[in-house]
Subunit: 273 residues, 2 copies
């Protein structure tokens, strides 16, 4: 495994370029620490096995990420893992030279705590072979994100081609009904976000029931509260839902459970304050 | 649009790397000519509109491809079109600086005219938003191509998640029954190959009926003849079909219609001799 910190260029025949043959993870850095890195690394390891990558030694990457985070102090660290160059067309090399690219960015401005989201017309395909992974085949998200320009709309919600709610373009979705948490099953589509995983685990530890299942827009509309999450924004209450024509569909008050979960994740240093 | 001929590196933040946000086409070059380039170019234009790329002037690319082909004389020219760098996450820049990368390779060894193919376990997702395009999100093909190592197996056939036959990993599929041609509909999955399009048009000109529809493995097994095609291999009769366990499922003789179509495509200089 070769690690490239803040690369300006990469090999023009890298399989990430040709086929999106790789993975990535986006990590919050605060006070020189890569938050929840152990979970990001675990997902990279698991998903690279699913893609058929050879086993890799995580310790060199751990060190590079720690060094880069220390250097950055604060911001967004993007870790991209590619199968590297070579192979015959789609057929990967027998012994791929995995490449890691580490990029750093300032934190985006996510100042408002309560956000407006919209429904996307774009539907996610059902593909269990790739579902859950944060791989580099992200055209669905690029297409969905092109549906709106209005910067007041934080996120677009995506259903799959069968109409099941899945996630946001860049976040996972939870809703609350009678103090129970609900979040879409991601076995057919979607990215199993690190913070989503932490929320599920932590909620159960806190005695909060979590259902992972198949839900429709109608289920969401009946919720007492809704929030989205990812490693960079943490948890954000969804205040308003717009339809695909940007007309108001539903409003929710901030639910106290969101603040409770947020505090618990902050205590664990899994999200940035 | 910036055109890079035989690049060694590209920008590390190119959206082709991050999201597979681009397209490609693989063109046969013979006697210094890029075969069927007009059709490749037309598909690139159409698909870049589907992805929301800005309009681009094809003449500069025409010239670069012609020059590169003249230089190469013979081989495979890969033309990759990316949305370039920039944007906020998935959100593309308002005025993307499109990047074209031209790569050249020797022809692969496709000496045998009759080929053995196998059925893949990997299923293609149904995604009408992306179906037909030769975009850079090709993990399904990478996964499918990892199913076999045996170099005697030229190609793997893919069904979609609903069990409809779609294509090969790197080729399109046709079968013949009672002198009629059949090829899978690609509105839900698959790549609308240039040679597939030429075969459909040319067959109709020659008075050969072509049906584009939804077919199952059982339809294929009842065929009188089967062939696969792409821009590099041209047309190849499928002699033998193996199942996912590499057991023989079906054999077909070479059908005279394949040679007839091949000759007609050669006359048009759409495939290499």
């Amino acid at each position: 495994m070769q690690i490239h910190i803040a690369p300006k260029t990469l090999a023009a025949q890298d399989r990430a370029v040709f086929y999106g043959d790789g993975l990535f993870s986006t990590i919050a850095v605060q006070q020189g620490q890569a938050l929840a890195w152990a979970y990001h690394q675990e997902r990279l390891v698991q998903d690279s096995q699913r893609l058929g990558f050879p086993l890799w030694d995580a310790s060199a990457l751990d060190q590079a990420v720690a060094d880069t985070a220390a250097q950055m102090q604060s911001g967004v660290l993007k870790c991209l893992l590619s199968r590297g160059s070579g192979g015959r067309g789609y057929f990967p090399p027998n012994k791929p030279a995995l490449q890691v690219y580490l990029y750093s960015y300032p934190f985006p401005d996510y100042s408002s705590e309560e956000v407006c989201v919209r429904l996307c017309q774009t539907r996610l395909a059902q593909q269990p072979l790739l579902a859950g992974m944060k791989h580099l085949n992200r055209l669905e998200q690029v297409m969905a994100r092109q549906e709106w320009q209005d910067s007041h709309i934080r996120e677009g919600l995506l259903c799959d081609t069968q109409g099941w709610l899945i996630e946001g373009c860049m976040s996972n979705l939870f809703f609350i009904k009678n103090t129970r948490l609900y979040t879409p099953d991601l076995s057919q589509a979607g990215v199993a976000g690190i913070i989503r995983g932490r929320i599920i685990d932590l909620s159960r530890q806190l005695g909060i029931s979590v259902s992972v299942g198949q839900y429709r827009l109608e289920d969401l509309r009946l919720a007492d509260g809704v929030f989205i999450c990812n490693s960079i924004m943490g948890l954000c209450s969804v205040n308003q839902l717009l339809d695909t024509q940007q007309q108001r569909l539903q409003q929710w008050p901030a639910h106290p459970l969101v603040q409770r979960l947020k505090s618990a994740l902050l205590t664990q240093q899994w999200i940035a304050s």
